[in-house]
Amino acid sequence: MPGDPSDEELLVGGGAHGFALLYERRHPLVRGYLRRRVGSHPDLVLDLVAETFARALERRGQFDPQRGTAVGWLLGIARHLLLDAVRAGRVADASRRRLGMERIVVADEQLERIERESTSELERSLAGLPQEQREAIERRVLAEETYAAIAARVGCSEQVVRKRVSRGLATLRRKMGESA
């Protein structure tokens, strides 16, 4: 909707209400991003999503919209929490604890059912793409990074990134058309 505030506006000047709206709007994306990397560990995904947004809430004053999108910033937090979790063998919870947030305890079976039901057709199709195409689409379409930025990050030319995105999207369209 044209009148809707942007993610960046919600994060920077939206206050508590804005942050709640940002969570509502973007938590499925962060969740999907983590789910594709964590695999079948819905409890880990829940913990990582919770800590990602808790950290974002704590550090929203550090976000600078001149330097990138809110989504890219959120995914950056998520990615580093994931890496730290891999190295440390546990998901950090310092931000949640500082914010007085309680750990949400849900039975594994229920979490798995929720994850199954919430996995979108797009996510399933995305998961089936070659890794380099999937990463290119995630960065360009989901995280809204520029082609130049992706090229620098991935270590190839902009042209190659454009091709990967284009081919990946074509495959997605075909796959989703087949399943429709």
Binding site: G15, A16, F19, A20, Y23, E24, H27, R31, R37, D43, L46, V49, A50, F53, A54, L57, E58, Q62, F63, D64, R67, G68, T69, G72, W73, G76, I77, R79, H80, L83, D84, V86, R87, A88, G89, R90, A92, D93, A94, R97, R98, L99, G100, M101, E102, R103, I104, V105, V106, A107, D108, Q110, L111, I114, E145, T146, A149, A152, R153, V154
Partner: protein, 467 residues
Amino acid sequence: MTDPYTALGRQLAAAAERLDSQGATSRRLRAWLSHRLNAAAVAAVLALGGGAVAVAATGLLSGAPVRPEASLSPVVGNGLPVPGTPGALAVRAADPDGGMGWGMRIFRTTRGQLCAQVGREHDGQLGELGLDSAFGDDGRFHALSPDVLPPGYGGSSGQVECLPAGQTVIVEDANADRSAMRLLPEEFREPPKNPKHREVPPASDLRALAYGLLGPHAVSVTYRTRGGLRTMPARGPEGAFLIVEPAGYVKSSSLVGGSVDGQATAGSVEVTAPYRDAATIVTAAAFRFGAEVCSQGRGSPVRKSCPTRRMRLPQRWFSPKHSLHEPIRLTLLLQPPKACRAAFLLDPCYKGEVRFTAPYAVTSAATDYDIQSRAQCKIGGRPETGWALERDIRRNEVVRTVSLGLFVFTPSCATHESFQVIYQNEQGPSAAHPHESVIVGTVSMSRARHPGGAPFTGQGRSSLRTG
């Protein structure tokens, strides 16, 4: 049941409102206590021939004592037990299946921590049992000495909890195992792939375990059992308690139940209230303040509610803004390509060695130096990781410390990425620790250097040495 992501959204909204309304003064929860959610497991029966058979304490063979995970030091992490303080067991509890019971001892450490250590009890000694794939199922009792402590704050060595004096804690593990050796969370998730991992016992062999230290005002603890709520007294000046029940009546999404910490001071309580929306083992605790007895939580036979207060600690104590602007030196250490790949990073990737001169001494676990990496560049390496020294530091000591996390160096972002050294005194100034938390200094990635001392330019691997 509510979708957990909806519940999470509500929690975040409430936290955001609290931050906004309190001028960003959120409730302080100590970083080193955050590890507490990783609890271990304990129990009391030997599984023989596929069945659970209670074993009398007498005649049990002794195995090798439990060894600490790492060589511990009196000036690192929790420190070491102060000689003489680990006295007799403070609390004992029977096992649901009978036989060998459980015990908890309490002691102080050289770094000012108060520790509670839980294990199986045999002739007044704490230990772990060789069953459920612990100790190769040798069926022996392995003595647990007080110096079997986690190498860092909180941590994972058996069932042990260390916290600063004056704090309170409840530790819960809804799926504790019978050996008292720690079961890792990943061992609960899928069949063991790592040969070092243990097999998770059947649910019928697991225990619901809860223990804690609620301070000198604690009177009793109320907790769930299969048969309903029960209340037990809290013991001694530490307000110690230990609960061991059959597992299964408290559902947990993983191995770990949870923990709560706070303070119980004269006249008010900031402690013990278990999670409001989750089933926990401990539901309430009662306290005595002068002639008044009151409770916090649900289900206590003491109906009068305790006066509570929210911790209102200055934000600057745990998130300081003031900086001493001391010089910080950053050296980038090239990592092997396989380490980069394992961290999902492009090669080359790095760790950062931070060097600074400590302006204040650190003499206990109450204060520390933290290194926080900051990244505000969209396409950069985002070295968004932090670590703490967790050891004693002399005033004016030159400190060298290396990042835990790996990151890539992006020249265009180097001015927006930095490491910041912070002196943390989250309890606020005191006679023993007179200095407030403060930023010691910040170093930008653009000022990084090679191990040889030359300015770092982000050139290729061939020109660098592995650090």
